[in-house]
Amino acid sequence: MKRIDLILSERELNRVCKAITKAGAKGYSVMRHVTGMSPSGEISEAMDFSGLGANAHVIVFVDDDLLGAVAAAVRPLLKRYGGVGFVSSAEPL
C-alpha cells in the first residue's frame, strides 16, 4: 500500500478531498490548523479569524494501483493553488 501526505491551504481543502474521493480512494484523514513554511513564505494561524486560515494535512492510504489515479487528480490542484504531496510505503496493521 501507499501512504500519501498532502499539505495545502485550508481554503482548497474541499476541492482536494473531492478529487481524492472521485479518484476512487476509500478514505482519507484531515488535520487542519497546520502551519508551515515553504519557499513561497510562512503560513501561520494568525489570519485564522479571517477564514484565510492555515494549511491542512491530508493523509490517504491507498492500494498501489490507485496511486496513479489519486496523483493525477490532485497534482493539478497543487500546481494551481500551491501545496505539496509526498508518497511513502505502508502496510495495513
Binding site: 481554503r11 476541492r15 490548523h33 494561524e45 494568525a46 489570519m47 479569524f49 479571517s50 477564514g51 484565510l52
Partner: protein
C-alpha cells in the same frame, strides 16, 4: 480642537488595546490569542453590529434618504476599485492590481465599529441604516476585482483558467458570486441585520433581552478584538518590505483621498455629521477579511501578502489611529452640527 480629537481617539480604550497588541509584537512578547478565539470575537462583532443596525433600521424606516445613501455607498464600492486599479496598474501586473483594488473598494467592519464607538464617546448621533451600507459595500468590489483580473489577463492564461477545472467559464462565475455574497462574514452581517429588523418589527420584547449581549458587552469585546488585531497587524508589517515604496505610499494616501470623495458625496446627500463620518470611513477602509479570502479563490495568481499586508498592516492602523479623528475634523468643517 483638531489635535484634541486625535488625542481623544489615541487615549480611548479600543485604540490603546490596539497599540498594546502592536507593541507586544515589537518588543517580542509571546502574548497571543490562539485560534479560534479571534474568530469568536469577529463573529460576535458582526452579529451584534448587524442586529443593532437592523433594529435601528426598523425604527428609522426605509425613506428616500436611506435608499439614496445606500445606493451611493454601493456606487462608491464600484468606483473606488476602478480608479485604484488604474493607478495600481502603473507599477503592478493586472492580477495584483485587481486584487488590491478590490480590497480598497470593499470595507473593514472593525474600522467602522471603531468609528461608531468614537462617535458614541463624542455623543454624536448616527443612523442604523449605515450598517446596511456597510453590509452592501462588502461584496461588489470583489466582483469588480475578478472582472478586472479577467480582462487584463494575458490571452493564454484566460484559456487555461477557463478550462482547468470547470470545462467552461460559466461555473466559474457561480464561484465568484458565491465568494462575494455568501462568504461567512457577509452572510452573518446581512443575516443579523435582517433578524434585527424582523425582531424589532414583530417581537420587540426580544430586543431588551438581546441588549446585554449585543449592546452592553460590545465595547469590551471590541477592545479584546483590537488587541488581537494589533498583534496581527504588527506581524503583517514585516511583510511590507516586499511591497515596496509605491504600495506603501498607496496604502497611506488612498484612505484620506477616498475619505474626501466620501465627504463630497455626503455633502451632496445632506448626511448628518455622524453618518458622514461613517460614510467616509467606509470609503477609506480596505478589506482584509472577505476580499482576501475571495481573491485567494478566484484570482490565485495575485500575491496574498501584498493585498493583506497593505490593507491590514498600514491602512487599518492608519484609519483607526489617525484617520477617524482626522475625518471627524473635516466633517465638522463641512457639515453643520445636527
Amino acid at each position: 480642537m483638531q489635535s484634541s480629537l486625535v488625542l481623544q481617539n489615541l487615549l480611548s480604550a479600543p485604540v490603546l488595546f490596539f497599540f498594546l497588541g502592536i507593541l507586544g509584537v515589537l518588543v517580542g512578547s509571546d502574548l497571543e490569542i490562539p485560534s479560534p478565539l479571534p474568530k469568536l470575537f469577529s463573529l460576535y462583532l458582526l452579529l451584534a453590529i448587524g442586529f443593532k443596525g437592523g433594529m435601528e433600521l426598523a425604527q428609522s424606516g426605509l425613506g428616500p434618504q436611506v435608499l439614496l445613501t445606500i445606493g451611493a455607498a454601493v456606487a462608491m464600492s464600484l468606483l473606488v476599485p476602478l480608479s485604484s486599479f488604474l493607478l495600481l496598474r502603473l507599477r503592478l501586473d493586472g492580477y495584483n492590481a485587481a486584487a488590491i483594488a478590490a480590497s480598497y473598494g470593499s470595507i473593514s467592519a472593525v474600522t467602522f465599529i471603531t468609528a461608531e464607538s468614537f462617535l458614541n464617546v463624542l455623543e454624536v448621533n448616527f443612523d442604523g441604516f449605515m450598517v446596511a451600507a456597510l453590509a452592501l459595500m462588502e461584496s461588489p468590489a470583489i466582483v469588480v476585482g475578478v472582472v478586472l483580473a479577467k480582462i487584463t489577463a494575458p490571452a493564454e492564461d484566460r484559456e487555461v483558467s477557463g478550462e482547468q477545472e470547470n470545462g467552461n467559464g460559466g461555473l466559474r462565475w457561480r464561484e465568484v458570486l458565491q465568494e462575494a455574497f455568501l462568504n461567512g462574514s457577509v452572510y452573518l452581517l446581512i443575516g443579523s441585520l435582517v433578524i434585527g429588523y424582523v425582531v424589532a418589527a414583530f417581537s420587540p420584547a426580544g430586543l431588551e433581552k438581546m441588549d446585554p449581549f449585543t449592546e452592553k458587552l460590545f465595547y469590551g469585546a471590541l477592545c479584546f478584538f483590537l488587541l488581537d488585531m494589533g498583534i496581527v497587524a504588527a506581524q503583517r508589517l514585516r511583510d511590507l518590505q516586499k511591497a515596496g515604496a509605491f504600495l506603501i505610499g498607496f496604502s497611506l494616501l488612498a484612505p484620506p483621498v477616498h475619505a474626501l470623495a466620501g465627504l463630497l458625496v455626503s455633502v451632496l446627500l445632506g448626511l448628518s455629521q455622524g453618518n458622514t463620518l461613517l460614510f467616509m470611513v467606509l470609503c477609506a477602509s480596505a478589506s482584509y477579511i472577505a476580499v482576501p479570502a475571495a481573491m485567494r479563490m478566484t484570482v490565485p495568481q495575485a500575491n496574498p501578502s501584498l493585498y493583506i499586508s497593505t490593507a491590514l498592516g498600514l491602512t487599518f492602523p492608519f484609519n483607526v489611529v489617525i484617520g477617524i479623528p482626522l475625518y471627524m475634523v473635516l466633517t465638522r468643517q463641512f457639515i453643520p452640527a445636527g
